[in-house]
Symmetry: C3
């Protein structure tokens, strides 16, 4: 499978959904259709956005390149969330954060391990780099659990509601600052002081082997257009969420945790599985666990900061109890599964099983509680 | 100590309690006495059941043999639970599931490590096989935690009780299906695709060394008789639980978690400790952790399925908060203790200490809450 | 930096605060000033107390010496807590236990790893000894979580308050006994049966290299005087806590968890960082993780036992939910960070980040809830 210089990827054919989405929108089609089609259109756009970033990174040297990759790697999630933020759909924003975290480590990594396991009995990977990302995940878990516990403790008391909301926001903002600062330091660590740990020599750009780097101009144009595309589709997607939840009898949280998260991470998803099939498990692990910790340490705090400017009111970091539980379970499980530096297909099954179990609970949780 | 071809094991002398139990039953003796005597009678019967399974497994080849062992390995627990299920004692059923899980990893493994530690300074074991079982345990933990959290979230809301019960059962049934499917896949993994990982060459049948396999006929007869015996004793045991809890001032949950679990797992218990004393820690670990994950992935779902047919109403998978906490603590502790592939006696003490701490809490928890 | 035979350590200059504290006390100065100055005076006194213990240990042979170190190692924390116990400030006592546990593993170890990381790219340490201490920590976590969960389950019920208090105390006392027994066994393990695991040959007494052991007489005199000093300062400190919380708008729990814990552990703190700067990470890890588990397994149970004699009423082991969460997060994080036997500075940052996140929550938690 060759992706380089414009050779189309299977997902690229999904670009056909981009014009369809516009047609549906102008024809005032039902929200559910718009939701489905705009979601399908985001998948290839997010992939292009990612590839353009990687091509551009090739031109600017490893330091800035790494930074570019780290920042734009989750651009699709970020853009979708920004539109949800503007619309005041804070439940959806947080649900898609949760969904990205558990989706990357349970679904993406699980499928990668299972897929790789069909070809290889045992797949080895570098424990140090994986360990760095997976303990970052425990840290992020702390960052997302503490504001929730803080909030539920306060809600259980007889303090006045405004006071609760105020200290809740204080805690969330301060925690977001700590998470973001840790993120910046982790970039210093992985791009500067300890970059040798993350040298996966077999990974040279978006696709190793027969691959031609796009020119800076091409990269920038693709980056701009795909970002624009993701933005437009995200707006359609977000504005149809409400209708979807009503029509399909699914809660906002389920849509955010499962569906939007899958859409936003589809590019990482296919990349991780492809790498696993080539026995490049290091890259699969980095994509899956790295994306999860980036969402928690970069996307989540940035959304909190942005909410002060573009949201109807500031957003806190208080996740629902089931979301908190999901993040805890996922990050503990992945830490244990990854500790020995090798994967068998059964470990993939275990990750997927936990994903299904959590999915079941999110599906059945009534909207009044979720 | 030689157990082979009918050479009696110390526990076999407990078979004397089998006729005593019948006598007491027909003499309408007090329930507490019947409880104690039938419990003591189950111990050797469960042992015979296990040995007959292993002997039979020798005749049918490793594939089916492994399957037989895996299925009948927890037959005693399963039979006791089936009788409790029929009697509608769902609290006892779940408590004995909890008790089997924490009993195997804290009490059985703890005693094995301490016993082995008296003879050997350091005892090594194969991390890969242990790791597979111990991460399966984390997965099972997820499976048992999620329905509980789901239920307590719903109970805290103002939804109508029937609606809560309905979605609770939906979630429990679906989670049970996921757990059972994972169990089936784990058998494929350990008996077929990766059986080399579980080859403990020093373990050739029920007892290595001077050992003669029972004939198929002997095995089947012993298997049938001991199953029948366990069934009869379980019925006596279960029907006297209520009287025991009243007379002795113990709660159903305490009886299930501590006492029934010890009775049902006595055979595994003595086998694991004996293996530890022979420095065959691999087998001890497999027995202890493997039994725990089998209870969670096989016994628990099967009981949920059976409850639709033989119980007064379907059983959910909602454990009490203290049970959930126990399962979480036990499975996290064993994962950390087993991560380095070696045991010292102090690690056994740690496992036992957590068992005592949990036992204390179960003992003092009032019946109205447990 | 040479500390041996009376050569002063930088912290020793803080002894100047000892007379200042007396002056302030007799001048009836504000409580906040007395709090600050007596706190500053405890820092060098705790250091002297520790050094005198180590010098004395040199004279009595490794067995008793190890016991001395283990018992007096946390003397400062213990003395402060005893005064708080007498004053009935049980919230402060428990908060300083929590603070010592999380302070040692997150703040002390975090700073050590960061400090060491400025000089060394990778710092290795012995996993077996660290593993022993860090799984002890999981056990302690169980010991501190179970009584809390037990209590909150009972409080949520409609049992009469006296009954709740009674079973709560039963559970706490029994758990304290189990923890203390485990502590005694862990000393047998580390000082007798497996002392070779803890032989850090590069650590010969309080300060390796040019160092002269104090005579028994000197050691005993310094030990006595510093203990007396810590006791006097602790009394001033504890009696000014209430005024501090009122004046500064901080809760008792925040003062206990963050401030008193830092004061009481300042000596360990500076020792651990100094060792890290010398690349003796084994010692830093032992100090940090060992102190934490000692606080949970030795200081906490001893305070429960003492409360029956010197407190206004017996003290239970029920920590606040945020304290429980902090202990859980800290002990899980340190277990994952320490599992691979090497540190990079980023792991220190992660530990510190979790410390800050918890500190933020404790700071904003209203007194009525904390």
């Amino acid at each position: 499978m060759k992706i380089g210089n414009w050779e189309p990827n299977i997902l690229d054919f999904f670009l056909i959904f981009l014009p369809i989405a516009f047609v549906l929108q102008f024809a005032h089609a039902g929200g559910t259709w718009i939701f489905i089609v705009s979601g399908l259109a985001i998948i290839p756009l997010a992939g292009l956005l990612g590839r353009a970033t990687e091509h551009l990174a090739e031109h600017v040297g490893p330091g800035i390149g790494g930074l570019l990759n780290a920042t734009f790697g989750n651009a699709a999630e970020l853009i979708i969330s920004v539109f949800a933020l503007q619309a005041g759909l804070y439940g959806v924003v947080k649900a898609s954060i949760t969904g990205s975290i558990i989706g990357n480590i349970l679904l993406v990594l699980g499928l990668s391990v299972v897929a790789g396991g069909f070809r290889f009995k045992t797949q080895k990977f570098n424990v140090t780099a994986a360990g760095m990302n997976s303990t970052l995940l425990i840290l992020s878990t702390a960052g997302l659990v503490v504001p929730a516990v803080f909030y539920y403790l306060l809600v259980g008391s007889d303090l006045p509601a405004e006071e609760i909301a105020a200290s809740d926001l204080d805690v969330s903002l301060d925690v977001a600052i700590v998470l973001f600062a840790t993120y910046v330091l982790s970039l210093v660590f992985s791009l500067r002081t300890h970059k040798h740990l993350f040298d996966t020599t077999d990974y040279e750009g978006p696709e190793d082997g027969a691959f031609e780097t796009w020119s800076v101009k091409t990269s920038v144009i693709v980056l701009t257009l795909s970002t624009l595309g993701v933005a437009l589709m995200s707006e359609l997607l977000v504005h149809s969420v409400e209708e979807v939840t009503e029509t399909m009898g699914m809660t906002e949280v389920f849509v955010g945790v499962i569906i939007i998260a899958i859409v936003g991470n589809a590019a990482e998803h296919s990349a991780a599985v492809m790498m696993a099939l080539k026995n490049k498990m290091d890259i699969s692990v980095t994509i899956a666990i790295g994306s999860s910790s980036q969402v928690a340490l970069f996307v989540a705090p940035v959304l909190v900061f942005l909410s002060f400017f573009i949201g109807p009111q500031p957003m806190d970091l208080v996740f629902t109890p089931l979301e908190v539980l999901s993040i805890i379970l996922a990050s503990i499980l992945v830490n244990f599964v990854a500790v020995d530096g090798e994967f068998h297909w059964m470990e993939g099954v275990q990750l997927l099983a936990v994903y299904f179990i959590l999915g079941i609970a999110f599906y059945f949780l009534p909207a009044s509680i979720a």
